[in-house]
């Protein structure tokens, strides 16, 4: 129960961060990616603020023997730089650049009730589920 409530709180804080930062607005994301046009560099500050906070925070957290509400830390152990990683990242980048939504902001923007976001989010979830079923992981 504690693990579920803490995940809910973390999701809310994450969503608020996406809203405060402007990351939830695809127009802002596309202008960040449009270096040759009407460039809005704001989102570089989102990445710096988020990665910087996690860099410092993880140093303290991962020194502990275990998380508060779970048995162990689930940190990725894969190290292979393979075609799947690079191909998947390239695909994701193309989709992100087409309309300006990545998974987190798409789900938070869904909470505004805007119809185009619903269309994107349903397609995104279908794309995720499609691949998951295909590879049977």
């Amino acid at each position: 129960m504690k693990a579920v409530l803490s995940a809910l709180a973390a999701g809310l804080v994450f969503g608020l961060g996406l809203i405060v930062s402007g990351m939830v607005n695809p127009a802002k994301v596309l202008n960040f990616l449009d270096i040759a046009g009407q460039w809005d560099p704001s989102l570089a500050f989102v990445m710096a603020g988020a990665a910087g906070t996690v860099f410092i925070g993880y140093r303290f957290v991962l020194k502990r023997p275990a998380p508060f509400f779970a048995d162990r830390f689930n940190v990725p152990t894969a190290t292979k730089l393979d075609a799947r990683l690079i191909g998947g990242a390239a695909m994701f980048g193309v989709g992100w650049g087409l309309v300006g939504f990545c998974p987190g902001p798409a789900l938070t923007a869904l909470g505004t009730g805007a119809m185009p976001v619903l269309v994107f989010a349903v397609a995104m979830l279908a794309g995720m589920a499609g691949w998951r079923w295909l590879v049977r992981d």
Binding site: S6, L8, A10, G11, F14, G15, G17, S21, G22, N25, A27, Q38, D40, P41, F45, V46, M47, A50, A51, G52, T53, V54, G57, R64, P67, F73, N74, V75, P76, T79, L81, R84, L85, G88, A89, A90, M91, F92, G95, W96, G97, V99, F101, C102, P103, A106, T108, G111, P116, V119, F120, A123, M124, A126, G127, M128, A129, G130, W131, R132
Partner: protein
């Protein structure tokens, strides 16, 4: 067609810190990486789940989706979400984003925030590739076609 936006470094930085705090919370409390593609993907496959694994994932997603309601309750306004694309383009992009994040094992949060913070070589490469692909895509769609 392209909506102009203002440069907002302070709110961008503040929002980034909130995103980072959320990721630190999720690791400290539940021992999990705050990668949205991974959290959501874990709900969508055929693999069997134990109940708790599914519940924390659903709770995190519920928090993400509920954030605008909380924002509205506090500020009295919905966050700005300007989408100008056609439905066919939204569907194509959604499918590519969804599949791409599962094939590449991460998105902007998992690779771009948590992975970079862990100095993971895989995440460094993935972030470079998806940033380059997104920049190239915007350049092509806005300046070449």
């Amino acid at each position: 067609m392209d909506t102009p936006t203002a440069f907002t470094p302070l709110s961008a930085l503040a929002g980034g810190v909130l995103i980072g705090l959320s990721a630190v919370m999720l690791m400290a409390l539940n021992g999990r990486i705050a990668g949205i593609a991974g959290i959501v993907g874990g709900l969508l496959g055929p693999a069997p789940f134990n109940g708790l694994d599914r519940f924390w994932r659903l709770a995190f997603v519920a928090g993400l989706v509920a954030a605008p309601a909380l924002w509205f309750a506090v500020t009295g306004a919905m966050p700005e979400v300007a989408v100008t694309d056609s439905w066919p383009l939204l569907i194509v992009a959604g499918l590519i984003v969804g599949a791409g994040t599962q094939i590449g094992s991460g998105c902007t949060s998992g690779h771009g925030v948590c992975g970079l913070a862990r100095l993971s070589p895989r995440s460094l490469v993935a972030t470079g590739v998806f940033m380059a692909a997104a920049l190239a895509t915007v350049f092509v769609t806005r300046h070449l076609v």
